[in-house]
Symmetry: D5
Subunit: 109 residues, 10 copies
């Protein structure tokens, strides 16, 4: 199922800048891996903040917790989780079907 | 640019149910049209609420306002707008490129 | 998965008392049915409020939304959903195993 | 009587990690003991947070306070207590009776 | 056990003044009865508000709920319940003992 | 006049435990003295918090401030003051009269 | 003693304008009377709001409540009471003495 | 024009007590000077807090800012500014006129 | 001096649409007049809301209040006033000088 | 497009004053440069706070983020971004036209 997650990062002003830099780099790598695995569907930065809005696609709260709690910057994150479901006005399904047909067409060749 | 929009719908208890029903149906139609035009990228329902989280792709605040203010249920909406930008950890671009190649491949045939 | 749901009921003072009474009765029936089906695990009243704290056991946000949105008093509810997962300090599993053994023992006879 | 307790743990970033680790381990042990004694009925983790939602079954506010104030991580906890009572829609009693009958049946043999 | 209860009364401006007057009178009577029964230990008005701060002495959350939910003005009340316990700095016990000795002395005659 | 005072104590995690212990002991002594002087009428602990709810009986805001500002733990207190007055539903006066008669009766002997 | 009182007036949009007008006029008269009696020391309007900030000089919370609860617009007021006391940096006393000397001088003639 | 200013002082617990003492003394001196200059009309302490409510009489926001930003304890202050204007129910003008007549009378002699 | 004013308009759902339309039209006219008079320097709409952020240039709080309280939609406005002053980093003065020189140059011809 | 940005600066009390001074000076220089480039249209100080209200004119959220995140005091800023659009009551366009005509006239010579 889909999860809306808002993450605000707050670094204490007396934290070591080198450590934060290293954690941030590890964070980016971890985020990319999870995106490639299809667990982390979207990540957008909020303009003007050290914060992001993300959408995760994971089985349940336990899997979501495991992913979030292992993020390198987790100790500095303020996290707000909102469970999502299909909206009756969404055409996401239509689009997925089109995309699958597109991919299917191509695989023919 | 991308916009994160959270919309909560609050119907006064003495509103006419027929009118609300008609407005809701019109709302769904309008949302689908805007999705097909590529303006309304995502719409998800928040589980347990008459509310949705959406992502719009429109030029600026003026275009966003025009779209929102003309939604059939607008008078009953509480709207929170958050401007988004590309996150350095996002692989959305990679994926878009893949998709474009996919589409390009296909159009060859 | 498990969901923590806090429900506060707010009846507008000019709502018809007969209608509210009928909805409340229907609400109790629906809650009992869902408990018997194993979807609604716990329901406790908050002392001093027309409110309850509940735990649901449903597959995902979509199923939770469907259940909540069909409750008779839903239009008058303020709902807060919190996704749960197993706590590392919980002995719920131990207890479940004991209970299953208990039931297994009995079914022998 | 039953008590709903929400506990959020907040560790200052300059606390010693060894001390926190030791306190966390002691916390888990204490929680298990209290569950086995029937004082701590339920403990669930909130997905995405270092936090739990618990239900305690203790005589009064004094006993509850004594238990909470002696938890190893208490100095780092933000605690919200909500008193509960039986909900008229609950079938917990029915279930308890069934369970007791089940246990009674078994003890015959 | 003791309960701290803050009650704010909010009358909708279009409620019938006669009905509110009657409910208020009934409320005063009920409060006096509960005080005489020793359930409602203290009631003070908050200066400048239609609100009171009270201390109840009842067995548990269920008894507290039953009392509050039957107050004549309950539908118009916003109630905040806080469970209390003996404070280590309190001399209430000393005073109670003195008072009991006083009463005991007197009953001799 | 009567004053409702809610006091939450917040100790910074890097404060010296010996100093806090000493201040706490001094606090208890000061609270008992003020209770015996009739200035501090009630003090109850809030279950689950390092916090108390108190009622003071002092002449005016100046006297209240002087008492609070001299409490040993004052620098760590978050204080909320609410002015009280007699509630029309209170029978405190009746009780005081009874108590005075009781004391008067006794003093006869 | 002195009391800081912030009063915000909120008129429901469907209240009768004639009644509000009459209450407002009565309110002004009452405020002037209380100022002349020395009970209502200061009243200032908050720029941009139907609201005022006032300072009252009354004996205790009971007298303050009685005055506020009898104001003609009281049912539409949101009131916040803050108890004041002499500030150690204030020269109000010096000024009062000067004023009294001034008045004393004059009364000689 | 008149300005309502609420100032709460918050000293970090690890600030040097000597420095704070010196700043506090300087603060009192500065406040008295500004009162004598007629810029700082009133200063009252809020009972139970290290906080004051003040009224300033300065030309505009720039002058107010300059005064506040130069207060010795400014770095530790949380400041809330509210612009005031004459209230239609105020008799301050009447009183000023009386006072001026009083002073005028006296200056005759 | 300059004032930052945030205005949110909230129309009750049962207000007459004709009356609101007429008030809105009058509001626009009044806003334009005040802009031409140089009192209302800027007005921007907040994207996604019936709300605006404005900057006024008026002498004091009294003039600001008079302007705001006479706006046609005032009874439906929630207004937040923030006093402004010159920022040390602003080059507004430089620009004004350039503009004046520009105008001066032109007036030569 | 236009963006309303409210920036509050909060310096931890144990930050080095020299470093803050240097950052503040760099901040002023950066702000002036951005104003001259036409990106930072307005900057006003909020009276009584270390805070400013600004209006930026930049293409999208990405450009806004880049500008804000590179401000020297950014690590100490709390930033609130609000997207703006043209208000139907604004005469800004009229004024721009006049100004352009003024400039055009002048360029003739």
């Amino acid at each position: 199922m889909l999860w809306h997650v808002e993450i605000v990062v707050r670094i204490p002003h007396d934290a070591g800048p080198e450590e934060i830099k290293a954690l941030s780099a590890a964070e980016v790598e971890r985020a990319k891996t999870l995106q490639r695995e299809g667990k982390w569907l979207h990540i957008w930065r909020i303009a003007g903040k050290w914060a992001n809005i993300s959408v995760f696609n994971v089985k349940d709260g336990a899997e979501l917790h495991e992913i979030l709690a292992l993020l390198p910057l987790y100790p500095y994150m303020k996290i707000k989780v909102t469970p999502l479901c299909i909206h009756p006005a969404s055409i996401e399904n239509e689009r997925t079907v089109e995309l699958q047909e597109l991919a299917a067409d191509r695989s023919v060749f």
